[in-house]
Symmetry: C2
Subunit: 225 residues, 2 copies
């Protein structure tokens, strides 16, 4: 177990790593820098996510990982994962699946940046994050926590903070949702998913949680208090 302070680096690009992390509480981000030091977020992580399991087969990361909020993580030594892969092919496949879910979300982000306008991008990010948080029992369809600044939203959606501010204003004025102090309130979920062309099948929720039984769900919910 390890505690991580908000806005600190968790893993640095390129350095060899011998463990992966499971996020228990808080939010992490993954991003790459361009030549002028501008960041582009490539992933956002919510509690329950295996943040850098891909470091197990790859042994280094091609991006940085940082905490958006204070966070609690569990450390998984690669030696332990290695043992799992030797002994339990069923569980190995589930770990593999977890890393592929990540890739599916990457594809959604490519689509977001490639085909949606500014408002659509913000809507899709909100819709996706809301759905992921609901899937792990945090937040509801109408309200969830997202500890980011407008500038960070811009780094995720490839927009300037100025324009994010304008987009949020139009979303507010049109009664779709609000974003204040790191909290999203959704007043019109239908319009949000519509405007963001959000398709939850990307998240493979049926498959991802097919093997989570009721007892485990309750245990997870308790652990998050």
């Amino acid at each position: 177990m390890r505690h991580i302070a908000a806005r600190t680096l968790v893993v640095k690009k390129g350095e060899p790593v011998d463990h992966s992390t499971l996020l228990l509480r808080g939010f992490l981000s993954r991003y790459v820098d361009d030549r002028r030091g501008q960041r582009q977020f490539v992933a956002l992580h919510v509690p329950g996510d295996l943040v850098d399991l891909h470091a197990f087969p790859m042994k280094r990361l091609d991006h940085d990982v940082a905490a958006l909020s204070d966070a609690e993580v569990a450390i998984l030594p690669h030696a332990a994962i290695e043992a799992i892969t030797r002994e339990d092919s069923e569980l190995t496949r589930k770990l593999w699946f977890a890393t592929l879910l990540d890739a599916a979300i990457h594809r959604e982000w490519i689509f977001r940046l490639g085909r949606l306008d500014a408002t659509g991008r913000v809507c899709q990010l909100f819709a996706e994050t809301g759905a992921r948080l609901q899937a792990v029992g945090l937040g509801s369809e109408t309200h969830f926590v997202l500890p980011m600044t407008q500038a960070e939203l811009g780094e995720a959606c490839a927009l300037t903070s100025v324009h994010v501010s304008r987009v949020l204003k139009t979303l507010r004025d049109s009664g779709i949702c609000t974003f204040r102090d790191g909290e999203v309130c959704v007043y019109n979920p239908e319009a949000l998913t519509q405007r963001g062309q959000f398709d939850p099948t990307y998240l493979y929720l049926d498959h991802a949680h097919a093997h989570t039984d009721g007892a485990t769900r309750r245990r997870l919910a308790l652990a998050r208090r």
Copy 2:
């Protein structure tokens, strides 16, 4: 083994699949459609790629797969992969790695769309594809095949075909590279990677080919004739 005609669909989004494909010859693309039927490419595949290995743990795809050119693929039944995962954890990890390479390239694409201007996007795509082709012994630093139209380049880089045409003109005029009839000629590789902020460490070439011995390389080269 299976032959696929240019511009035909190989796998359709959402349908359950019981096999994955290894691309032996030709080029495939993966893309998602937006509501108005516009395509956004999320991946481009060159010979040697395991195109949809992620379908093994996921059992369906969240995107379409189509052939850019005539292509030759090998079919890998999931039952066979399943057997590998039970019997050979070493090889399983290599398969896992192959799907993660895909995710690393996805991240590069997110960066491309988020932080590069039109010219930079095209340069990065050319640099990346050139590097991947070279890694499997196809093409050189100064010349390789890329069977796409300008409109398809636009679908990969999130640009209109009109603007792709203009970008190619500036690249031609500045002596960096040319693109004609599905072939890229690079006259200034340094400028190409610079303009596209291309960083080959994304491709993990050291790691990906660490276990390919000389005999195997020669066999692969022969198989491609």
